[in-house]
Symmetry: C2
Subunit: 351 residues, 2 copies
């Protein structure tokens, strides 16, 4: 019985650069060099090392690497919730861009609570996040302190707030609120129901609302409906707004598309035709807004753009020490079928 020495490597558990050094007869430094495809290494030795790596199935220990380089290549994002497509879309864009640059995205949710935000921020930092992405301008003192103490770059998003405590990438919710209500006013609407989610946990909404309020004059009669930030909330607000016979709105302005969808369903339930009897506006431009019947007039927010830019800004900060600057992204009113001139009758009665 012949017994030949197997050509296959017996796969001796290769655990670190040392083993590779041993296997190739080189030094750990050289191994490390090719691992970081850095500086001068002769082609031949590089090839040899790479072969050894392939054969052994070796891969870097990220913890050791992070410890040595003091870099984790991890960025944390803290959002109110993932269960809202607007945030999911945002994070999706971030993740894609980070992945391109070998950064990882780790996510934490707060449910909209500032204290939770602070807590989760600490979690993320303790976990090694090198930078943080947060939503809005409203953060606890504690949070800011933590970020400063650990000198972690923090970027606020969904807002543009050049004088805020944090650099921000986003849009100007205040003027967008104005633009939205003006569209309705320009169409001759007088009685407008404004629907929005919980103000306490969302400063973006609050800011939009300020814009709305400042843009309307005595000629208009606005009523405000704070409700749950989901389709059911929108429907409920609509029921409420439409239930007073004395004050019948000719238009709804919803500060989120999801709310508008609820209003739309409720209008359908009541056989109120949109837009001939009721105009409807949203905010966000979710994917269905262009497809609904009628199409939803809304403010298109550059959600993916924002994610992309946020990711890039942080990468530049981390990799090239480029300072974080606040940037204002453009957001546009997209007129679609859900808004029309206010019914004449209505106007007459008012005049």
């Amino acid at each position: 019985m012949k017994r030949t020495v197997s050509e296959k490597k017996p796969i001796p558990r290769v655990t670190g650069v040392r083993d590779l050094a041993q296997a190739t007869g080189l030094s750990v430094a050289t191994i490390s060099r090719v691992l970081n495809d850095s500086s001068y290494v002769s082609d031949s030795t590089r090839a040899a090392v790479q072969k050894a790596i392939r054969q052994s199935g070796y891969s870097r220990n990220p913890a050791a690497r992070a410890l040595s380089t003091q870099r984790s290549r991890t960025i944390g994002a803290i959002v109110p919730t993932l269960a809202h497509s607007i945030f999911a879309t945002f994070l999706n864009a971030i993740e894609q861009e980070l992945a391109q640059h070998d950064y990882a995205l780790v996510i934490a949710t707060t449910g909209g609570d500032r204290n939770t935000e602070t807590r989760r921020a600490v979690d993320l930092i303790d976990l090694g996040a090198e930078a943080l992405i947060v939503s809005g301008a409203d953060h606890s003192q504690e949070f800011l302190k933590v970020a400063k103490n650990r000198s972690i770059p923090v970027l606020a998003t969904s807002i543009y707030d050049p004088n805020g405590k944090l650099p921000s990438i986003g849009y100007d919710n205040y003027s967008l609120g104005q633009a939205a209500i003006r569209h309705l006013i320009d169409l001759g609407h007088r009685r407008i129901a404004v629907v929005f989610g919980p103000l306490a946990t969302n400063d973006r909404t609050a800011r939009r609302l300020e814009g709305v309020k400042v843009a309307c004059t005595k000629k208009q009669s606005l009523r405000y409906f704070e409700t749950g930030l989901d389709v059911a909330g929108g429907a409920q607000a609509a029921r409420l707004a439409l239930s007073t016979s004395k004050w019948q709105p000719s238009a709804f302005l919803c500060l989120s598309d999801v709310l508008a969808l609820g209003v739309l369903f409720e209008a359908q339930r009541r056989n109120l035709s949109v837009p001939s009897e009721l105009s409807l506006m949203g905010f966000d431009d979710l994917d269905w807004a262009a497809v609904s019947e009628p199409g939803l007039t809304t403010i298109a927010l550059p959600t993916s753009q924002m994610g992309l830019q946020a990711a890039r800004a942080l990468i530049n900060r981390l990799d090239h020490h480029i300072k974080l600057e606040s940037v204002c992204l453009e957001a546009n009113l997209v007129p679609r079928g859900s808004t029309a001139r206010a019914p004449q009758a209505n106007i007459h009665r008012e005049i």
Copy 2:
């Protein structure tokens, strides 16, 4: 000018346990002990150490910790996209549960491509993920190999596949597909349009479709419409399905709620009344399904439950070496207003 020595600590940059040891006059071992609130440490020294920690603002270096313990407390989730609320909801649940147990969630998206999945899996592992959560049963050979070589626990979700290569936590898409179509058949529908997203990138959909096909007999006439997995896709499929005058469906079965929403909008656009003229069914039970007009009959998937259980299973595996077992979660058909008996005329004509 008097010059008193400040009582405040000058905040000498405390970077590690060593500094704390120095500051307290104890040894690093003791520091480490209280850090891990482990074994016996006298109350007094514990207090002293904790005070020092507080004063210095010290916090553990996660990389060093990970290197020493060989644990990163990080779990990776790989999903097709975040831009779909069903996945976002799922991840939301996972994140919450993981946070509870001091695990971090790092996310990667694939866009539905298997090769991307493999690549991203390697990324996550190289980044330190101790376990992986993936969607569906369809994974590249390469992927499985990587997971095995690195001996990383992998859990498949959104499916129940007890004999699959991976342990899975999810639901039985096959029987759910059957249940869905049967509901329509039982209501007397004969001509049914089945609408679904890209099959090539989604084995859950494919499995549902198999169930649908097997459950219908010669008495039914089904047509299949593969389309984009979004509201626009649903609307387009509806246009297509309704455009042939020879074959007018009395019902639509959508293998995702988003598609159903598109169909619903399209039906409204055509003044087709749901459900009196057209029945409509979805799959997922997204939050708006209960609020739409009419309410959407759908298969309610236990998305959050699934996230919770997946997270727990992995935590148990990692913390207590408890083997991953496949589990089948219950999913139910939720009858709502969008489905009704097929119009009699239709049935007559068939007979």
